[in-house]
Symmetry: C2
Subunit: 154 residues, 2 copies
DNA sequence: TATTGTTATACTCTATAACTATA
DNA sequence: TATAGTTATAGAGTATAACAATA
């Protein structure tokens, strides 16, 4: 009845449904849905540092590091010294990583098709926009940033 | 640009943002965001079996069982024999579980407020509807149900 | 001093498969 | 035969805190 109460659960249910079908589909390629997101993030922006990668996924730097260790062992990802900042390391897909990414992207094609097939073109565009607004609202909330003007009665 | 490509990542980003702010907010109450979903599911439907609970969350029965073991240890949940089916066990909140649920529900109030504050009332309603369509589309995909009419070129 | 990344550590969630007991 | 739940097991993701090296 009340969108305010239902939105969080609806968001969770939709994401979990996507996550599970993706994991199932990607399993035969040996990558998880989250690993695919990491690969996809690397595929679109090159030579990111680990922190940049974490920020874009989005995820936690130490979580990303754990994932990178796994992917590096399997030769899908490589980490090199940063050209100008010796603290940092750049992360990039290896040749094998690029191939794997394209493979899994194709494997996920029908999942994405199925997803938008339940929507009109306009609904799909609208949904993406609304999801971004929601994500942004949480990002504004998440940092230390005390409860400023967000106090509510009830 | 292309909603079909962006929708999965936008959905993930929005959910993760919500999940992280929720975990952070609920931490002082000693429950995770996922545990809260379980408590909330029990709070609205009484005397569910474990399978019903898993189906509604939604989640995997064995995942739910692991969560129940944790929550039972802490006295928030109790499992009893099913009145008519001796295989099954009914799950319900204890008194302490009900209190905890209400506590955490209140703690999450401002998160939910913040979430809908980024949307008009109509957008919020629309978003819930679209998320359900998306979740449904994945549910149709998820079971064994081979690739029937979902084949696509590209 | 602040920042990047590493290390150590711990816990939750997730899921499969083999199994027991009951329907 | 099918279903509800348990057990054992494994791995992935998540995150915090202390630390080293560099900016």
């Amino acid at each position: 009845m009340d969108p305010k109460s239902e939105l969080p659960l609806a968001l969770r249910a939709a994401y979990h449904a996507l996550h599970r079908t993706s994991d199932a589909r990607f399993a035969e390629h040996g990558v998880t849905a989250d690993q695919f997101v990491l690969l996809a993030t690397l595929a679109r922006g090159d030579a990111l540092t680990q922190r940049e990668l974490a920020a874009r996924m989005p995820s936690d730097p130490s979580t990303v590091r754990a994932m990178l260790v796994l992917l590096e062992k399997r030769g899908l990802v490589e980490r090199n010294t940063h050209p100008t900042d010796n603290r940092a390391r750049t992360v990039a897909l290896t040749k094998a990583g690029q191939q794997k990414y394209q493979q899994v992207w194709k494997a996920g094609q029908s999942i994405r098709e199925q997803m938008v097939s339940s929507l009109t073109a306009q609904e799909a565009r609208s949904l993406v926009k609304l999801l971004r607004q929601v994500a942004q609202s949480q990002a504004d909330n998440s940092p230390v940033m005390a409860t400023a003007s967000t106090e509510t009665g009830n």
